[in-house]
Amino acid sequence: MTFTAVDISIVALYIVLIFYSGTLIMNKYIGGIGDYLVADRTMGFHLGLLSMMCTEIGMITYIYYAELGYKAGLASLIIAFPPMIAYFFLGRTGFIIKPLLEMKIMTIPEYFSKRFSKGVRFYVGILMAVGGILNFGVFPGVEAKFINTVTGIPQHYVLLTMIVLLTLVLIYTLVGGMVSIILTNYLQYALLSFGMIFITAYGVYVIGWGNIVDSVITRMGEKGVNPFFPSLFKGEFGVGFIIWQLLMWTAVLVAWQAISMRLFSSKDSKTGMKIYSWSGLMFLSRAILPIFWGIMAFAYFSEPVGSLDALPLLIKAIIPSGILGLIFAGLLAASMSTYASYLLSWSSIVSQDIIGSIIKFITGKEASAKNQLIISRLTVAAVMIFIIWWSLFHKLEGYLYFYLQMTGMLFLPGTLISIGLGIYWKKSRTAGAYLAFTLGALPPLLYLFISENLKNAWASRIGWGGFLLAFIGMVVGSLVQNMISPKNTEEAAS
């Protein structure tokens, strides 16, 4: 189907609504950095869950999951289970997240200055900013190509699409902060949930479950159905992969700034834990449905298409005009909330934990609330410029899903191990934290530089290896520091 005037009108109406609510209404509520970053901790359970889903469902989510489904078939649906298990586990037990919620911190690096030292906070802030921004850096390019395919805009206008998309997001993010995001999330969630349900149900109606299964079996064989083929240990999604994903998702839910900010925005620790428990179920669908779209695209197109183009081509091919505008607004909604939240999340790390630390080091005191807000907004703008540049010049190799996870892994193994042992192991020390972050970052750093074949073959081992090295680093570093300097004077403040 082609993108008609009706579709364009629906999208335009959506943009006007979002822009109006985000910029004009909310500005009066934003007083200080607390309002701006965590909505002054006023978010209830349903709003928290809605906001969490909006943040973590972007067009990029659909694209990387659909790529997996298109390339690996039904077997790749196994990827949906580790996040669900991690959410349930943390939400039900309160493991790590409950102590963090009770500390009332705004960013994860704050924990490190309380438990270890300001130097660790600064180091973590840098790793988080680099990993997070490299991760975020591929979003605009991939999504702009997706938008252009669905709408029929020629691909050589990809830069223009990126700039328009990011400018819209930037305007209301800069003005409203977290309060603005929470309000606009409501409208966005209504659209994106409609889109997800419609594409799945209508796709099965058009293509047929029988045809989908037949295509996978005929063209992929058992590998396309059984995630553990040829064996539990040798399968692409075997034991090593599952262990890596369980560790990875536990770390993401503890330390991924866009997610943990949602946690810190909740009004109490009970609400935060409840949001996590229920997010498990939502995250199962968040992965299953887009992966299934990729599988539908595989069945629909008998000739191979680019794995990242499969989903937009499917949407364009099967969704009727009129509904296409609504679906596109839903896709745009998903992206705008993710962009807004990620811009805010990563820039808060840069402004609070890196620039804030430098200012305090030089002047000997914290920046004023007004200056913090100005720094935060300037950082958002700088991050935006960087990701446009990165999107234009970085060439993606291997699964997009793995690239995103490996960039996050520059800090996630060290963060999970340092927070976990920092809370539950009294002998953990500053040297252990430094070593955990440094060793944990080495395998994913290696991943970013090796060839595409090695990337695919070694991803799981590099994944769980990062966590193992971080653990070794924390234990060895702490034990050595305890031997050399048994008195914990440096960390007495914690």
């Binding site: 007083g31 006023t42 709003l47 809605l50 969630y189 949930s193 799945t200 059984n226 299934f292």
Partner: protein
């Protein structure tokens, strides 16, 4: 292989139904929470 196909079919169906149910529930119940959140922020604004 048949067992896997049935399993994945059930997983997709369950995901679609649970997502639909949860989305409707969240959208309805969030309205009251939005009102309460802005009420609290409005009070704080007036107080300052």
């Amino acid at each position: 292989m048949s067992a896997w196909i049935i399993f994945w079919g059930l997983v997709v169906l369950f995901s679609l139904l649970s997502f639909t149910y949860m989305s409707v529930k969240i959208l309805i119940k969030s309205i009251a929470e939005l009102k309460s959140m802005f009420g609290a922020l409005e009070e704080k604004r007036k107080a300052s």
